[in-house]
């Protein structure tokens, strides 16, 4: 209260009624929200609409077109069977427009044929691609003379060549023709399909259970042959001198003994109270012992034992004999399979076009042989189906989509392997990113001294989130596949000479020992910060040199060198392991930032309470901070996973394929094949939509696959939401 007495202040006049409710602003805000909400809702609605109608059986129309108006006229008959897909308007060329206009003026065509000079046309799916070369056809609406839905029209879904529209004519069994034009034709065809499916299953079983193992063994034997060849050239070229056996044994014993002594004394110290003084330099000895053990392992005289030429020759002969035997067994099985195929070929079916006698052939190149029954996936008598029947077909198609393998060059059939690929990738990604991100965040928030360096790291992490994802793909390919992968496959490209390697090895050992000694000394030293800095430098140097040691070790020549020599690298190319690590890197910032925020939100009073009871920092983190931060961590993890599951660009560089012959998970040991390529829903959409030969045919599946991907991401988010709510309810704490 320091106002000077006596001076009277004039009252400040406030302006009344001057746009104080910010009306315009409120409208702007609401508008922005409405725009955003509309975009999101329309995204979901459109994808759901198009994605879910794909499998609904549409009626088959018989369309008659005015002669001469057929466009393009070369495509065959003026009558055809087709399923309408969509209508659109277009601008006809000038002459056409003029002639049409004169027809309209003469009253030959209705007034509304041309609207603003635009014609309306309709796209029909006509199928039968092997007969006409196309499976879609545009028809101008005004040229259609007649449309009706023939009762006996049949939609035939086949393993190849897309759909066939026609009517059933006859089944051929062992050259005998059975008429199929009766009213029960569809039921009879369906039972034929069931029988054919049994035969196909038997063939697949044989291939899978008998043929595949033989082929695998032959492949492995071929690998072993290459490996033996490599071994021979190795032992001829390089020096395999190693330590004498006694030196090896001594260093092994010394290393083990020192380790044991350290363990024993640590155990004793733990038992006795108060601890005896002085402490043994335990860590120093441990490092020395570790070095001795590494030395002993590397210089193991037996590991470098030269293979005996005679045994090599013997083994090669064994391999040859075994391969011969396997080939014979394999060809026997092939014969068996060929017989089954022959039997299958005796069951054929004639399905013709509606008005002609042209039928669906087995192959485009042999048009006079009708198709095998086993080539049919499903027949849909679309025009006579009841509602229940339509729902049945719809659900059956969904079932096939979700549980079957793709067919017809991946443009039809199911996406099960693709779902498996996506889920496996996402799970691996989770396994990599969540622990790494959480640990990094805990260190950053709880342990690291908050200073310039930590701020810098935090900024760097946040910036990582903004790097375009394709950059991660390039990095993944260049670093994981071509550097680390190649190293795993075939060892260092240019190994160091042994003396140089050992000199550096000693340097690492010495700097580690120095670092350990100094770290122990900093407790009492007055110049603690100087010593700490020296320790940090020593650790860094030792780490860098150790990396060099690993990268150029002359003692390692790859786990899959034989495969690499055969030009099929194992880890040296894209694969699900590298893809998931790349995605983990991509999503790491999300997890780190979310975890840091969740940890920071745990009240200080909780931490102090814990420290006050004598809990160490780690105990506090584990028992108080992490449980409190768990909901936030989960949110971050799910955000990261959802982002990773939808990411496509980096995958294209590190191992995704449109068609991968083998799944990354299967029933064979070791069940998860981290080196294999895989298929992914996102990439599948891209390939279907933009790369497939018949974009019009695969468009419905693009929608449906998109819907599926969207549903998976939504389910993930929902699961996280539920989980988080339950954790929160259990802890009854809102953080």
């Amino acid at each position: 209260m320091t106002g000077t007495p006596g001076s009277v202040q004039a009252p400040i006049a406030r302006r009344a009624g001057a746009a104080h409710d910010g009306g315009a602003m409120v409208w702007l805000l609401a508008l922005a929200l409405i725009v955003a909400a509309t975009l999101i809702v329309s995204l979901i609605v459109i994808i759901t609409y198009h994605g879910s109608k794909t499998f609904w059986p549409s009626p088959i129309q018989h369309v008659s077109v005015a002669p001469g108006e057929f466009d393009p006229p070369l495509l065959g008959e003026a009558e055809f069977l087709g399923i309408p897909v969509r209508d659109e308007t277009y601008e006809p060329n000038f002459e056409r427009a003029e002639s049409l206009q004169s027809l309209i003026d003469a009253g030959a065509l209705p007034e509304d044929t041309l609207e603003d000079g635009r014609l309306t046309r309709r796209l029909y799916l006509i199928g039968n691609r092997e007969l006409d070369g196309v499976s879609f056809r545009w028809v101008d609406l005004h040229t259609i003379e007649d449309i009706y839905q023939p009762e006996n029209a049949l939609l035939v879904e086949r393993t190849d060549w897309g759909v066939f529209l026609g009517k059933p004519k006859a089944a051929i069994h062992d050259g005998e023709r059975i008429d199929l034009t009766g009213p029960d034709a569809v039921e009879r065809i369906e039972s034929l399909i069931r029988e054919a499916r049994e035969r196909t299953r038997e063939i697949q079983r044989l291939e899978h259970e008998k043929s595949a193992p033989i082929n695998r063994e032959i492949k492995e034997l071929a690998l072993e042959r290459t490996r033996i060849g490599l071994q021979r050239t190795d032992s001829a070229g390089s020096d395999t001198r190693s330590l004498p056996t006694w030196a090896w044994a001594v260093s092994l014993l010394a290393g083990l003994g020192a380790m044991g002594w350290v363990a024993l004394s640590t155990w004793r110290r733990r038992l006795s109270d108060p601890p005896p003084e002085p402490r043994p330099p335990a860590r120093l000895i441990a490092v020395a012992a570790l070095c001795l053990l590494v030395l002993a392992w590397l210089e193991n005289p037996w590991a470098n034992a030269k293979p005996d030429p005679a045994t090599i020759e013997q083994r090669l002969a064994e391999i040859d004999a075994r391969v011969q035997e396997l080939r014979e067994r394999g060809s026997a099985i092939e014969d068996e399979i060929a017989d089954l195929r022959q039997a299958d070929a005796d069951h054929r079916i004639v399905i013709t076009e509606l008005k002609t006698e042209r039928f669906a052939p087995e192959e485009q190149s042999i048009p006079d042989v009708p198709m095998r029954v086993s080539q049919i996936v499903r027949v849909v008598p679309a025009n006579t189906l009841s509602l229940a029947g339509k729902i049945g077909v719809y659900l059956d198609r969904w079932g096939e989509f979700l549980t079957a393998e793709p067919r017809n060059a991946n443009t039809e059939g199911g996406v099960l392997p693709i779902i498996i690929g996506t889920v496996t990738l996402t799970m691996l990604l989770t396994i990599f990113v969540v622990p790494l991100g959480v640990i990094a965040a805990i260190y950053l928030r709880e342990y690291a001294k908050q200073g310039l360096l930590v701020s810098f790291i935090r900024i760097a992490v946040n910036n990582l989130a903004g790097v375009p994802s394709i950059v991660y793909g390039v990095f993944g390919l260049g670093f994981f596949s071509y550097t680390i992968g190649k190293y795993i496959d075939a060892g260092p490209a240019e190994p160091a000479s042994r003396p140089a390697w050992w000199v550096v090895f000693s340097a690492v050992a010495i700097s580690l020992a120095l670092a350990v000694t100094l770290a122990g000394a900093t407790r009492d030293a007055a110049r603690a910060s100087l010593a700490r800095r020296a320790v940090a430098v020593l650790w860094l140097a030792a780490g860098a040199l150790a990396l060099w040691l690993i990268a150029t070790t002359p003692y390692f020549s790859g786990f899959f060198r034989a495969q690499a020599e055969l030009n099929s690298p194992t880890f040296g190319t894209g694969g699900i392991l590298w893809a998931s690590i790349t995605l983990a890197l991509l999503t790491l910032p999300v997890v780190i930032v979310a975890t840091e925020e969740a940890i920071a939100a745990v009240p200080r009073s909780m931490r102090e309470g814990s420290f006050g009871t004598g809990a160490s920092r780690w105990q506090t983190v584990r028992r108080i901070v992490l449980p409190g931060a768990l909901p936030g961590i989960m949110t971050g993890a799910v955000l990261a996973i959802a982002r990773g599951a939808g990411e496509v660009a980096p995958l294209m560089l590190v191992g995704v394929l449109f068609f991968a012959p083998e799944l990354p998970v299967d029933g064979e040991f070791p069940y998860l094949h981290a080196e294999r390529s895989f298929m992914h829903l996102g990439y599948h959409i891209y390939e279907l939509g933009f790369k497939s030969a018949d974009a019009e045919a695969s468009r419905p599946l693009v929608w449906t696959t998109t819907l599926l991907l969207l549903a998976i991401v939504m389910v993930l988010n929902l699961a996280a939401f539920v989980l988080r709510a339950r954790i929160r309810a259990r802890k009854s704490i809102a953080i």
Binding site: S605, R607, E608, G612, T613, G614, I624
Partner: protein, 298 residues
């Protein structure tokens, strides 16, 4: 309350000018100018057996100095209250005893504190072990987000105790000592966050005494509680004072006079006076103390 307000209130105490008044004003002025006066410690205090000895203790935050050459004993087996206006460093002093200030970046200390004649700040001291010997209760009840049982036995858990029987006995004993057992015995497995404020604070006291600490630090334990809960906690403090040495920080002078055997008065990071509670509140040596306890400043 910041310094200018204190000054303003001091200026409002318009008593007639006497020599004593001049001396008093000049002592507070001299403190504000940076002087560190010699504290008036009653001889009774020095006769007691000390559990904690604070010797020439100074504490600096990154820039500011919070404690100025504080030296005082804390008698064993008694309740020692620390009073003083806000910001006088009493909580800082309390948290220095179990080195909780170590957790704050940029804190530096000089001098030393001895717990049972062993240095607290020596290099070799294991801070974790030190804190295990001292129980602490905070201003705001801070039960952990776990069950009542787990809250009480937290310090045993972190020591690696797994035997159910031992934990159960310890939990019951601590809860009984904290006069909480009868209220919660049927819901030991329930979340501790469902308890009322007073119950939560008594739970925190149970948590602090479950491992029989050598010293109990109470940092304004009743400041977040309603009057009835305050009475319950005060009675509890009197009860447990029979078994433990207690240091309590409070800015409620009635509370200090009710629960403590000895009281120390701090001002701006300095210890001004310490003595038996009835002496300090009845007939203090320093005029400043009298003015503070009678509510004429602070």
């Amino acid at each position: 309350m910041d310094q200018t307000t204190i000054q303003a209130e001091l200026e409002q105490t318009t008593l007639p000018h006497t020599r004593a008044q001049d001396a008093q004003a000049s002592l507070l002025d001299r403190i504000r100018a940076g002087e560190i006066p010699k504290p008036a410690i009653h001889p009774d205090v020095l006769e007691e057996d000390p559990v904690v000895q604070i010797k020439k203790f100074n504490l600096f935050y990154t820039k500011a100095r919070a404690l100025f050459d504080v030296s005082m004993p804390v008698p064993a087996g008694k309740v020692t209250a620390i009073i003083g206006p806000s910001g006088c460093g009493k909580s800082t002093l309390l948290r220095s005893v179990n080195r909780l200030n170590d957790l704050i970046d940029g804190v530096r200390i000089e001098g030393d504190i001895f717990l049972a004649n062993r240095s607290v700040y020596e290099k070799r001291v294991d801070v974790i072990d030190l804190r295990k010997r001292i129980g602490m209760v905070f201003q705001k009840p801070n039960p952990f987000p776990m069950s009542i049982f787990e809250n009480v036995v937290y310090s045993l858990r972190i020591d690696g105790e797994r035997r159910k029987g031992v934990l159960k006995d310890a939990c019951e004993r601590a809860l009984r000592s904290a006069a909480l057992f009868d209220e919660v015995k049927d819901r030991l497995k329930d979340s501790a966050l469902g308890l009322s404020g007073g119950q939560q604070q008594r739970l925190c006291i149970a948590r602090a005494i479950v491992a029989d600490p050598e010293l109990l630090l109470l940092d304004e334990p009743c400041s977040a509680l309603d009057p009835i809960a305050t009475i319950a906690v005060e009675e509890l403090i009197r009860d447990i004072a029979e078994r433990y040495s207690v240091m309590i920080v409070t800015h409620n002078m009635q509370q200090a006079s009710r629960v403590s055997d000895y009281t120390a008065f701090m001002y701006l990071g300095r210890l001004l006076e310490m003595g038996p509670t009835e002496h300090l509140f009845g007939n203090p040596t320093l005029r400043e103390t009298e003015q503070y306890v009678t509510g004429r400043f602070g």
